[in-house]
């Protein structure tokens, strides 16, 4: 009898287990289908693929297009745009693009993004169009060159975003209102960022506003916020324009450190830190930290967006120099 009850109990246990399993499977299937349909809906709403040269440009594009476009960046966080060598995967990426975006002003060494877009027959938007570039006089160069690191002034970031807006609206006029609304919101965030940076920088005595970094990427930042800048590597890290550390440029940077009584100098996330570390020990100053320069931070880091990158840089600079 007991055995019989036991068996019956076992059977009913099995059947309730099976029911539970079925219910669980049903829930999983429903959730799965819902997620799949949400993803599909988001993908169906997409009107194009934007392929961008750098992480900064990709972030600006993302702020304008939202989920309406798929946004891809050729460079990954931490890569150097001056020395980048294109790969077959980049060629494929650009082939699938609706629109391509570059920084311009020869940030992309040997114009690799221009060449990629031209080879694939894709329209290329240069985000620095209409920006008044800072001219740099490089040692050994007959004519001054245009500094490509224009995004470091938030007022220039506005021009990047407006160039992107124009191109996106031309490609997809049906969603003009939506793109303009996102852009306006983002411009408000740039305005707040600018006011915040001014507030932070104003707390730093004027004589301490000297920024020594690996390469000359911070001229726009320095001009906007009243800093002096010095860098041993010149405006590009690549040898294509005769850049790179020369004994003369290194000596000049060390002289600047001593002349201005600089407390700290900075390494950059996309440039080999060794030169700066050696210079710091030679000049008897400390390395103040790492700045995001030609590339933003990896996903999950504070520097994964332009706003975050600028905020982190300013905090690092102020803490090291005050």
């Amino acid at each position: 009898m007991l055995k019989c009850i036991g068996m019956a109990g076992n059977r009913s246990g099995k059947s309730s287990n099976a029911k539970g399993l079925w219910r669980f499977a049903l829930i999983i299937a429903t959730v799965g289908i819902s997620c799949f349909s949400v993803t599909c809906a988001a993908e169906q709403n997409r009107v194009g693929i934007a392929v961008c040269s750098t992480t900064q440009v990709a972030d600006f594009v993302r702020q304008v297009v939202g989920d309406r476009w798929e946004v891809q960046s050729v460079l990954t966080p931490g890569s150097d745009p001056h020395t980048y060598q294109i790969t077959p995967a980049d060629v494929q990426l650009v082939k699938n693009a609706t629109l391509c975006f570059e920084n311009g002003l020869h940030l992309e060494g040997a114009d690799w993004m221009k060449n990629l877009a031209a080879d694939a027959g894709k329209k290329l938007v240069t985000c620095t169009d209409r920006i008044q570039p800072i001219m740099i006089e490089e040692e050994g160069q007959a004519v001054p060159v245009r500094d490509p690191h224009a995004w470091f002034d938030p007022a220039n970031a506005r021009i990047y975003v407006l160039n992107i807006l124009d191109a996106v609206v031309a490609a997809d006029p049906d969603h003009e209102r939506e793109y303009k609304a996102r852009t306006e919101l983002y411009l408000g965030q740039l305005r707040n960022l600018n006011a915040w940076i001014i507030k932070q920088v104003n707390a730093l005595p004027r004589e301490r506003r000297v920024l020594v970094t690996s390469h000359d990427a911070f001229n726009y930042f320095c001009k906007a916020y009243g800093f002096e800048s010095a860098a041993p590597e010149g405006w590009s890290t690549g040898a294509e324009v005769g850049a790179g550390v020369t004994p003369a440029s290194r000596a000049k940077a060390i002289e600047s450190i001593r002349k201005f009584g600089v407390k700290s100098i900075f390494v950059e996330t996309s440039v080999n830190p060794e030169v700066i570390k050696q210079m710091a020990s030679e000049a008897g100053v400390q390395v103040g930290g790492s700045l995001y320069s030609d590339s933003m931070g990896p996903p999950g880091s504070a520097g994964e967006t332009y706003l975050g990158m600028m905020r982190e840089n300013v905090l690092t600079i102020i803490q090291a120099l005050e």
Binding site: A155, R158, L187, R191, A195, I198, K199, A224, Y225
Partner: protein, 165 residues
């Protein structure tokens, strides 16, 4: 018993509502008295301590005001060009100033290179060439100046106006 009790309660509630609706005091539309226009010639003067320029973060720079003064929702001054510091910008005459409370909304944006410092803007209201109200507005560095000048204008031209800070 219970259905009867429920029925009585429903009747009581509905009856109460009906009674209130029929006997509530009537809402009479408030007839605003038109404000009496203040006598005299009014003039607005604005002086900036800094160079003003269109908002460097505006979506459309052409429409972005460098200086804007609104009175009763209408622009009394609206400039989109660069304005050098120290220049007095005038609106003369200013029409529609009434006896009693008048509010002027003032907004000015700094040209980019002037935005590292705190800036000020001086606003004066003159009645028959006599200053009746003046106020200075300050901005934090990097931010636009925004403020409201609240001035109470007396009926007689000779009496002094008051400004609510």
């Amino acid at each position: 018993m219970r259905p009867l009790l429920s029925f009585i309660m429903v009747v009581a509630i509905l009856g109460g509502v009906q009674l209130y609706m029929t006997h509530r005091p009537r809402v009479v539309a408030y007839q605003a008295e038109p404000d009496a226009v203040a006598e005299g010639e009014f003039r607005l003067e604005v002086t900036l301590s800094f160079a003003a320029g269109p908002d460097p973060f505006a979506l459309e720079l052409e429409d972005a005001p460098s200086l804007l003064v609104l009175f009763r929702g209408q622009p009394v001054l609206h400039r989109t060009n660069a304005i050098p510091g120290g220049q007095v910008i005038v609106s003369d005459p200013v029409d529609g100033i009434v006896q009693g409370q008048n509010e002027f909304f003032v907004q000015a944006t700094c040209a980019n290179d002037a935005s590292l410092t705190a800036n000020a803007i001086r606003v004066r209201i003159l009645r028959d060439a006599v200053v009746i109200a003046e106020q200075t507005f300050w901005s934090e560095p990097g931010e636009a100046i925004q403020g409201a000048l609240n001035v109470t204008v007396p009926p007689e031209s000779s009496a002094e106006a008051t400004v609510q800070e």
